[in-house]
Symmetry: C2
Subunit: 608 residues, 2 copies
């Protein structure tokens, strides 16, 4: 199936929901205008459709392969990466002073979605590199930035994040990799890191590893972790590549999905480097603040993985939609002479609309969050910056958790739409189902996102940001109610959305109130409901965006300048309200019943 | 991970929920007693744990392989199948007159679950053979029964169901395979069948294919389909194997999961048989009634696939539970000196309890349904038989749809519990996620089940059976309410279950009423909600069984003769009520809002 970038929906979300014009009016975006953004979207769509999407299946069937420490990537990946580099896509959202193009994160969210739709496994390489660039830009020294960022922006080098060790996954307190200071100010690292995405490959000349490790006198736990930069090839004084550093790929994992993405076991300091034993590393920022720095990178990466969820869902939706439009099977419900395309059967319609509603809802929420990030970074007023930053911080775990859990649901429905053909690997739908499954796991599982969401994002300000967003949702409900009388034939749709959105935001507010009220006295009950709370927030806030989209579509339809797109978007928004928003009551009930459920779970544990 | 048959839960469900004693008191089960049933369960558990479960992974990594028309099954499958045959397991629920053991379907449901937990891909062979035996027993001639059933019961031969063709999947009206009558009363078949499970293999001497095909003068559509028996090897007059028939395996499919199960493309009448061109087949029953007969087989197979869902869920649960009990990561919520097993983290608990609740709820409902089937077949009173048959028929699509959709959810959660390790194939959790995905598809997709459930099972009797079950659920709610005052510390749990079950059954009744009321005037809206309605019924009726289980457990706990099992079961029932039953409101709302959603979906279709 040919992938087509969903440019029309992206542009709609940019303009109608995420406030592209306001973002472009922010200080720092003087060089960017709306025409440029359109041109970027168009060029990006063309590039990923032609150069990246066709490699998706080959990446699955011919995984990256390990041979004596070297890794050969899947067929076509090298050339596609060269094109990616030549197109300047890595620098899109990074600062011009290092060679970037300084476009808003909002735009980068869309191009990031496109390339991940085209080929999730391929796109992980630039995704991780982005995180490394962002971390260096925030906490690297001037010298580190000048040495390492430009080659990454040019696509000559790539970057990785090294957190996980066999005994230290979600629990980074257990990191054991050691870093011993040397007389010249550098460090020598030794230890084993696992699950390192693109930890070794043949796409670029050098790889910049950011590595969590402990210095000898570091305190135990998370407060004794430092962050180091360990290049695969050390740099000569003139910046050219020098000796091969003592970091080696011991093996690649055999994974359920994203086969095209090499997931490496990396050995640091096994003694075979050209610069002697121990991987040479350079401290980033200050000792023992590694976790804090890593979170900078993680926040960028978490948002990016949320975008991956939307991307994967979009691809699965396109594949299923194309199949359903072609496959003839069964008579039409209202009668037909012969078999009709299955897209006309109500349950296929339900599945496709569920897929579309989740995808478009998650996209709208993520792009709105990206716009908040741009405002947080660029608004002239420091108070406005802080306010937008708080909203963005609140939304990051939601975007990550909701989009990726939704991607799994969407990919699974994608198989179901295909019936038996969906289970056959050659069809392609199965790959999305396999690929999607990593998304709610890496860069922090949904539970980790939910812990962050409950702890740092909700309890710390006693639900202030959560409540402020609820008020905005209520304002949209009021708008829907105000508009429905004069909306003519669309009154019923707006009324349905208003009714369901009001119920959802009420459920969401109840959950926030329960969590704030019980966090101290009944912590276990609260955290038993943490993932449902995150999903409830995602469902409601994405539903809010769909409701805003519906208002915009009705306006266009009533003005008489609507395209088929707007009728479909409105139908998707109505469907979201009718079929998805009711989940809010279920989620909120499960949170509010948490106390009793937790008590019985405890009693059962004790009985055994 | 070692699989252990869940014998304690099976026995609990047999006795407390499915009424084993009443079933054993039915005419025809005079030879069976409760001790025999226990012995069968124990022996079955031992057999599948030792002989079948250890082959599960090898079946995944070394799929059945095609070589010039022959199929070599995965390592160990031949020997395990010999043991299966020698143990008499194929004959468990079939009639003694052909060599079966005549045990209740209730018992066969449990042994069927066990073997499928142990190895889903392996167990598909006996599952399909069961369907063929059942079809022959119901509509085959005496001669056909005597010739073909005993060797299948002995495990010397196996059976297959041949429905699907490339253009005819869910829509059997499109079947094109031709059967031309011969002078000797036999037929010659030609055509291509796809997705034929164990269509070719090396486990048995002969394969009995049941094939849907059209005779030359047959009317178009489903009323022109006949059912034929086509053996791989024709029989000599003395019943020994004779000439190789003209049915050949052209290839095997490359599938997402159940790799150990060969899924064959079969060519009938390609001209290479030893008995001349055209596959020799024998008409089963009367011409043009094939679809009707196939439904006999399908009903058995659909129930069996529902059992597969429970089996897969149980296996995924056991694997995730074992991992969570061993993996140390993070501090306890209430504080701990070092990392604790992740099973103690609230969200891991939530996931495991969701898995357990869905698995045990689906099991209880399926076994209750099996007990209804036994009553339908064996009750002395014809009216009672009809009543039980109606309940069983109502429950078959629910068991199939709900158990298999739940299996996908459970297997997905199983990966999530493992975190990053879940995505690594060697861990094993990924196999369940892949294997599970076929379950809501084959033997009729969930949508096909839902069509049947809405059309034949709900509308045809204007919701009579649906309503009768709702009344029974309400009776359980009343019992819960009556018991809670004197239930001491368990009053809160029973109250919670009562509250949530009452809300769920109300949602279910609303849905039934909506469907019955709108089926004529707004068919599209009703069928847009058909799968949600099926899931709502499954959720509510399985929740009802969990509620009945809770009552039984509280009685045991109050009597002081409870085991840890009962505390855990009660906690699972409470969790089911708190976290799963609230989904009922979401499902029912999506059904009731169907009219508006369908209208907008239609408008969008027309706009494009």
């Amino acid at each position: 199936m040919n992938y087509r970038a969903p440019t029309q929906d992206i542009r709609f979300v940019f303009r109608e929901l995420a406030g592209l014009d306001d973002v472009l009016a922010l200080p720092g975006f003087e060089e960017v205008n709306s025409e440029l953004v359109d041109a970027v979207l168009e060029e990006n769509g063309r590039f990923v459709e032609q150069a990246v999407a066709p490699l998706n299946r080959a990446g699955d069937t011919t995984p990256a392969a390990w041979d004596d420490g070297k890794v050969r990537t899947s067929p076509g990946f090298q050339e596609a990466f060269r094109e990616f580099a030549a197109g300047g896509w890595q620098g899109l959202q990074h600062e011009p002073r290092w060679g970037g193009q300084g476009l808003p994160k909002l735009v980068a969210a869309a191009t990031g979605e496109n390339i991940n739709s085209a080929n999730l496994a391929f796109s992980l390489c630039p995704l991780l590199t982005d995180g490394v660039i962002e971390a260096l830009a925030m906490v690297g020294s001037q010298a580190q930035q000048d040495l390492y960022i430009p080659p990454m922006l040019e696509g000559r080098w790539t970057g990785t994040m090294n957190l996980t060790e066999p005994q230290a996954g979600s629990d980074l307190a257990l990191v054991q990799t050691r870093a011993v200071g040397q007389d010249d100010g550098s460090y020598r690292l030794s230890g084993q890191k696992i699950f390192i995405t693109y930890g070794e490959h043949d796409l670029a000349e050098n790889i910049v590893h950011l590595v969590l490790a402990r210095t000898p006198q570091a305190p135990a736990g998370v407060k004794g972790i430092s962050l180091f930069l360990v290049p695969k090839f050390l740099l000569n004084d003139d910046g050219t590549l020098g000796k091969r550093n003592d970091v080696w790929c011991a093996s690649l994992e055999h994974k359920l999905g994203i086969h095209g993405s090499p997931t490496a076991v990396l050995l640091y300091g096994s003694g075979q480097g050209e610069a002697g034993p121990g991987a040479v590393g350079y401290l980033i920022g200050e000792e023992n603040r590694g976790l804090e720095y890593m979170f900078i990178m993680m926040n960028a990466a978490r948002f990016a993985v949320g975008i991956q969820g939307i991307a994967l869902a979009e691809r699965a939706l396109q594949q299923a939609g194309a199949y359903a439009a072609e496959r003839l099977q069964g008579r039409a419900l209202e009668g037909s002479d012969g078999p009709v395309a299955i897209v006309h059967h109500p349950d296929v319609q339900r599945m496709l609309m569920t897929m579309r509603a989740l995808t478009e809802g998650a996209r709208a929420l993520a792009y709105v969050a990206a716009g908040e990030c741009d405002r947080a970074r660029h608004a002239a007023d420091p108070q406005a910056r802080a306010r937008h930053q708080a909203v963005y911080d609140f939304l990051v775990p939601v975007v990550k958790g909701f989009s990726t859990e939704s991607a799994v649901e969407v990919a699974s429905l994608g198989i179901q739409v295909h019936g038996g053909m969906g289970f056959i690997e050659e069809t392609g739908a199965a790959q999305y189902y396999r690929d999607a499954r990593i998304l709610p796991i890496y860069e922090g599982t949904t539970a980790i996102q939910a812990n962050d969401f409950v702890g740092r994002k909700t309890l710390r300000d006693a639900g202030a940001v959560a409540g402020a967003l609820a008020e905005q949702v209520r304002a949209t409900v009021a708008q829907l109610e105000a508009r429905q009388a004069e909306a003519g034939e669309h009154g019923a749709g707006l009324a349905l959305i208003a009714r369901r959105l009001a119920a959802a935001v009420e459920a969401y507010e109840q959950a926030v109130a329960y969590i704030v009220a019980h966090a101290r006295e009944d912590q276990r009950a609260v955290f038993l409901g943490s993932v449902p709370y995150l999903m409830l927030a995602g469902l409601t806030l994405a539903g809010w965006q769909m409701a805003r989209a519906a208002l915009a579509c009705v306006a266009r339809l009533q003005d008489g300048d609507a395209e088929p797109f707007h009728a479909r978007k409105l139908a998707t928004a109505v469907f979201y309200a009718a079929h998805l928003l009711p989940r809010a009551q279920a989620l909120s009930a499960s949170i509010l019943e948490g106390g009793v459920a937790a008590r019985y779970a405890r009693a059962a544990e004790n009985a055994e």
